[in-house]
């Protein structure tokens, strides 16, 4: 590794750690927003929207480019309580199978701890209604409870995150929150290191992605981009992918996933940028799994979109593994796109550009008029 890339890798590590540590189940992403605002201080103008998306605008010449990575990571919500025992039933927020959560430590936003147990049934994977939140705070403990000792009883509707302990294992990062904090880190790193940016850049860190690309739906509408790149994480074999990929062999570009088919022009843009940045690319075709791209590409009258996915592998419990080199190369690829290595504004046909520019101008005037 060259000294420059070593330095870059160290920088990425220092970005990733606070992002992995931040509390952020779907709909409760405020801590992640705080970390991102700190990491990208001075990088542009900030806005938060109604659903919780964090939007960074770095004004520039060229088409409006949307970059999206989601902030939320899976969590649980308390659905029913047994006040006597301090046990509760839960509903999973986001894409985790019940079996993966058994034994997982939980942390509520106010710091209370709990653990997921289950009504044991041999020979079958647990269903969600077999899972239990064990708080240890039954009626007796509840009477003595104070907020200070962290033993306030639960309430229906309380939301918890997986109490994650991110670890660096050799070349790999291991954490429950890599999907998609790894994407957030790659995006932050790319925005920090890219020079001569050829776009009017709108980076949107989306909320509630795990509940069905909800943040991306409203966030894209508000920005009305001319093209978009979604950065997410793809897990091996989950639930099924038809093109093989491996960890440590570079970022994936998605050809097809749930609700999304790669836009040929955007695909070519990613390929060219990868060649320019000397980043190896893998291809991803997955069934029944998707990303924010399905909402982004369908916003308004449609947005040419590409998905860059960081390869990951499940550990079987709550954790995933991501290869540090893949993360580094994903950031390099995004930076190359920002610098116009994939062909920037000038590549689009002239008539298209005139039209989109005119529309952009009109949009801004209208917005200005209303504020």
């Amino acid at each position: 590794m060259s000294p420059a890339s070593l330095k870059s890798a160290a920088a990425l590590d220092s970005l990733l750690q606070p992002l992995l540590a931040a509390y952020g189940p779907p709909g409760r992403e405020s801590a992640v927003r705080s970390v991102l605002r700190r990491l990208l201080r001075g990088a542009g103008t900030w806005e938060e929207d109604a659903i919780g998306n964090l939007h960074l605008h770095r004004a520039g010449e060229g088409p409006r480019l949307l970059l999206a990575a989601h902030m939320d990571a899976p969590g649980i919500i308390v659905t029913r309580l047994d006040g006597e025992t301090g046990q509760a039933r839960l509903s999973i927020l986001g894409g985790r199978r019940p079996a993966e959560l058994v034994g997982a430590p939980l942390r509520f936003e106010d710091g209370r701890a709990a653990i997921v147990s289950w009504d044991r049934k041999e020979g079958a994977d647990p269903e969600m209604d077999q899972l239990l939140v064990e708080t240890g705070v039954g009626r007796a403990a509840g009477r003595r409870a104070t907020r200070a000792n962290g033993s306030r009883p639960l309430d229906v509707g309380d939301v918890a995150a997986i109490d994650d302990r991110p670890a660096r294992l050799g070349d790999y990062w291991c954490s429950a929150n890599l999907d998609d904090r790894a994407g957030c880190a790659a995006l932050v790193h790319a925005l920090t290191r890219a020079r001569r940016v050829r776009y009017d850049v709108h980076a949107v860190f989306t909320a509630q992605s795990d509940l069905g690309a909800r943040g991306a739906t409203t966030g894209t509408f508000g920005i009305d981009p001319e093209m978009a790149v979604v950065v997410d994480v793809a897990h091996l074999g989950e639930p099924k992918e038809t093109s093989g990929f491996s960890l440590g062999k570079g970022p994936c570009v998605t050809l097809k996933e749930q609700g999304f088919l790669a836009h040929p022009e955007m695909l070519e843009r990613v390929r060219k940028a990868a060649r320019a940045a000397r980043v190896p690319l893998q291809y991803l075709i997955r069934e029944g799994e998707g990303s924010d791209a399905r909402a982004v590409r369908a916003a308004r009258s449609g947005v040419p979109t590409a998905v860059i996915a960081i390869p990951a592998r499940r550990t079987g419990g709550v954790g995933s593994l991501v290869h540090a080199t893949d993360l580094e190369q994903t950031a390099a690829l995004i930076a190359a796109i920002l610098e116009g290595a994939g062909g920037a504004a000038g590549e689009r046909s002239k008539s298209k550009r005139t039209k989109t520019k005119a529309r952009a101008g009109a949009g801004r005037t209208k917005r200005g008029g209303r504020t």
């Binding site: 659903i51 659905t79 509903s91």
Partner: protein, 372 residues
């Protein structure tokens, strides 16, 4: 502050609205009878009243001239400085029911369900079919002719038919056409604080909303009585895009859980336990700030509230929240026992408290939201 200057007590819950709305037939896509009742109830109280392209009824109060944003603006969910937030209140007019899909040679009507109905409640029921409200029953063999083993079986919905007493297809077609809708034949009744009727999901919400607009609300309000909620939250999807509100509160009649076999912690919410608030359902993470405002308002007014069980169901709020650049949204429900079935119960005190809670929440929104 002319249009929205009213700062008085909450309007009364109009039980007469609930009664006529509950008795009216309005299966998804066929809501016009319900719409006419609502329109008559609110026409003199609102600034504008219109029916949108899908059939939803849209009433504006204090919205014109209040400088509200239009559909393409971006918003961070807060009102601009110095103006009151524009609130969309929404209740759906449609009910789960049936559509006649075929008329057989013998005069029997085959049907499909519109919306989620447990097939186990269909057998032996009386229905009102079509615009004329012809009565029909889902007939089965009398017990004399049924073997013991058959008694334990649930008859699949596809094997049932509605019998209107017609002797032939021609006879049946004098009263019914393919595509007609049918509802449970249930008449509204009252005893004590209990009210019995069909379609409380969501005529309870419709009646609460019609009651609310009898007085001028303290903020600009667009009230939407939406169509086709039960078949996929469709009417509200279109309406929200056009209304483009700053905030939304959806009014519902939701399932209470206190039925035999349910454990104590499964039974929430309870009928009579007060307005029910949603944190999370299959369509929505309710806006945390708006839920907090509702809870504080309830505490100040000494209105009991309860939580809807998270993770189940979905409402128009899920679509409204994702419309345009996003709309902070919450759901307030009247807990009802036995929804999506022939007859439901509600406690009229819950409906009254829901009107009171939403009214005072609108006042609090006027105070708190415009400053942010």
């Amino acid at each position: 502050m002319s249009a929205n200057g009213a700062r008085g007590a909450a309007p009364a819950f109009r039980e007469d609205f609930l009664e006529s709305l509950s008795n009216a037939a309005g299966v998804s896509g066929d809501e016009h009878r319900v719409r006419e009742i609502v329109a008559a109830a609110v026409r003199d109280r609102v600034d504008t009243l219109e029916v949108d392209a899908m059939g939803s009824l849209v009433a504006r109060i204090g919205v014109e001239g209040a400088g509200v944003r239009n559909g393409n603006a971006r918003t961070n969910g807060s009102a601009r400085k110095g103006r009151l937030p524009h609130v969309m209140l929404c209740a759906h007019m449609d009910e789960v029911g049936f559509m006649i899909t075929a008329i057989e040679k013998e005069g029997r009507l085959r049907f499909r369900r519109a919306g989620g109905i447990d097939p186990r409640v269909l057998v032996g029921q009386v229905f009102r079919v079509g615009g004329a409200g012809v009565r029909g029953v889902t007939g089965i063999l009398p017990p004399h002719l049924v073997s013991h083993t058959e008694e334990d079986k649930v008859i699949a919905a596809d094997d049932l038919y509605i019998d209107i007493g017609a002797s032939s297809r021609e006879d049946a077609m004098r009263h019914v056409a393919i595509g007609d809708t049918a509802v449970f034949d249930t008449t509204y009744e009252a005893w004590g604080s209990v009210r019995k009727g069909k379609a409380f999901d969501d005529r309870a919400g419709c009646a609460v909303l019609a009651s609310l607009v009898q007085e001028r609300p303290p903020v600009p309000v667009t009230a939407v009585w939406s169509v086709q909620e039960e078949v996929g939250l469709r009417g509200a999807t279109a309406a929200a895009r056009r209304v483009a509100p700053d905030l939304a509160i959806v009014l519902e009649g939701t399932a209470s859980g206190e039925t035999p076999g349910a454990g104590p912690e499964e039974s929430a919410p309870r009928m009579g336990g007060g307005p029910t608030l949603t944190v999370h359902d299959r369509s929505l993470m309710a806006d945390a700030r708006l839920v907090d405002l509702l809870r504080r308002t309830a505490a100040e007014r000494r209105i009991p509230t309860q939580w809807k069980r998270p993770g189940i169901g979905g409402t128009d709020a899920g679509r409204i929240a994702l419309s345009g650049a996003g709309v902070p949204s919450a759901v307030v429900s009247v807990p009802c026992r036995y929804i999506h079935a022939p007859a439901a119960y509600l406690d009229v005190r819950d409906a009254r408290r829901t009107v009171e809670l939403v009214w005072h929440a609108l006042r609090a929104i006027g105070k708190e939201w415009s400053e942010s």
